[in-house]
Amino acid sequence: MNVHAPPLRDSLAAEYVLGTLRGMARQRFERLLAAHPALQRTVAEWERRLNRLAVASPSVAPPPEVWRGLERRLFPAPTRRPWWDSLVLWRGLALAGALAVAVILAPQLATPPAADASFAAIRNQQHEVLWTVARAVDGRLHVSNLRAMAIPPDQRCLLWLKTGDGPPVMLGALPDDGSVRTLPMPASVASPTQGELWVTMQPVATAPQPPTQPLFQTRWQVL
């Protein structure tokens, strides 16, 4: 079958998505699909069209075993460990912190670390560390994203400092591609290591809005 002929490609893709393409024809189509990005796009377009019908399905409560099975498969019981007992975290320290620690220690090798050199780990609900934040004595923040995350391109993660009852102050956008970024501390912040660090996810297209609640939050640890 000549899948490069657009009308044939289109009608095969449509019947593939609808489910009426079957038997040998379906298997042949699937083999071609694996090798032809144009065909994959045509299938995706038909999925976008035909699966609009999904909203009109009858609503039936699924058996509770389905959710329980998902929890078992996707979220095995967390093994809670103290925050410092984590290889990932120390790897993060090595990445982001190396810079900061160098800045902290280099000028004062023989003196104790400055009391305001601070560190924070931002974790998700499974206690996996997503970002580490190290504050150097010059006040700048070295933020490290410990693993690249599949954030939709129209969204971004922002870091905020929340102190007292006022609205949080934005510190900057967090890297989500596994990289390290340096953020200046806004001059308006009186005590940068007080309070909580908040993370939010917001659309790229709109100006950042101070959040009323965070997606993730953490406190500073003094190094």
Binding site: D10, S11, A14, E15, L18, G19, T20, R22, G23, R26, A44, E47, R48, R49, L50, N51, R52, L53, A54, V55, A56, S57, P58, S59, V60, A61, P62, P63, E65, V66, W67, G69, L70, R73, L74, F75, N124, Q125, Q126, E128, L130, M149, A150, I151, P152, P153, D154, Q155, C157, M201, Q213, L215
Partner: protein
């Protein structure tokens, strides 16, 4: 974190491995997707298996969702329906028809049909309008294929129409839907 957070926002948070967002997404969408799978498979156990498999993929691929792929529920529907059709077409149909209790009768006959649901508050008025441009029999053919997963042969037998007629109805209905939906955007 309200229970009616937009599905796209929940999917975006699932991409961040936010387990609570995943749970909220499940609570909001699983009943519709389970209903879809039950109608397709007529088998509670198989439908539950496919629903679980589908949500494992949703968790793994949440970061792949783009608004250009359609509404979130359309995208979720694509994932579970693809799994179901795959399973049905692999010949795993021996258990088909097992769901002959009250539940199936309710699903099959009572309550509003797809047209009414599409016109409803959570529906898709454009899709409803485009379906109305089809004649009743070709429209029924689309529903039998989409919601019940029937093949050309099975549809021909159900409607007592020649196979060639059914195939032509399917082909023409799909093209008309495409044209109509594209006029809308």
């Amino acid at each position: 974190m309200t229970s009616r957070e937009p599905l796209a926002a929940l999917l975006a948070r699932c991409a961040l491995r936010d387990r609570r967002a995943f749970e909220a997404l499940y609570q909001q969408t699983a009943p519709t997707l389970y209903g879809l799978l039950l109608k397709l498979t007529r088998d509670r156990e198989l439908a539950a298996d496919l629903l679980q498999e589908g949500f494992v993929r949703v968790w793994q691929r949440a970061g792949d969702y783009r608004p250009t792929l359609g509404q979130p529920l359309t995208w979720l529907g694509s994932i579970v329906r693809h799994l179901a059709i795959d399973r049905l077409r692999r010949g795993d149909r021996r258990r088909r028809g097992e769901l002959d209790d009250d539940g199936w009768a309710h699903l099959a006959d009572d309550g509003p049909g797809p047209e009414e649901r599409l016109h409803g508050e959570q529906g898709d008025a454009t899709m409803a309008r485009c379906l109305e441009t089809l004649d009743p029999e070709p429209r029924r053919v689309v529903f039998l294929a989409y919601y019940e997963g029937l093949t050309h042969d099975a549809i021909a037998a159900r409607l007592e129409r020649p196979l060639g007629t059914v195939k032509a109805w399917v082909r023409r209905s799909l093209q008309r839907l495409k044209t109509c939906l594209e006029e809308d955007v």
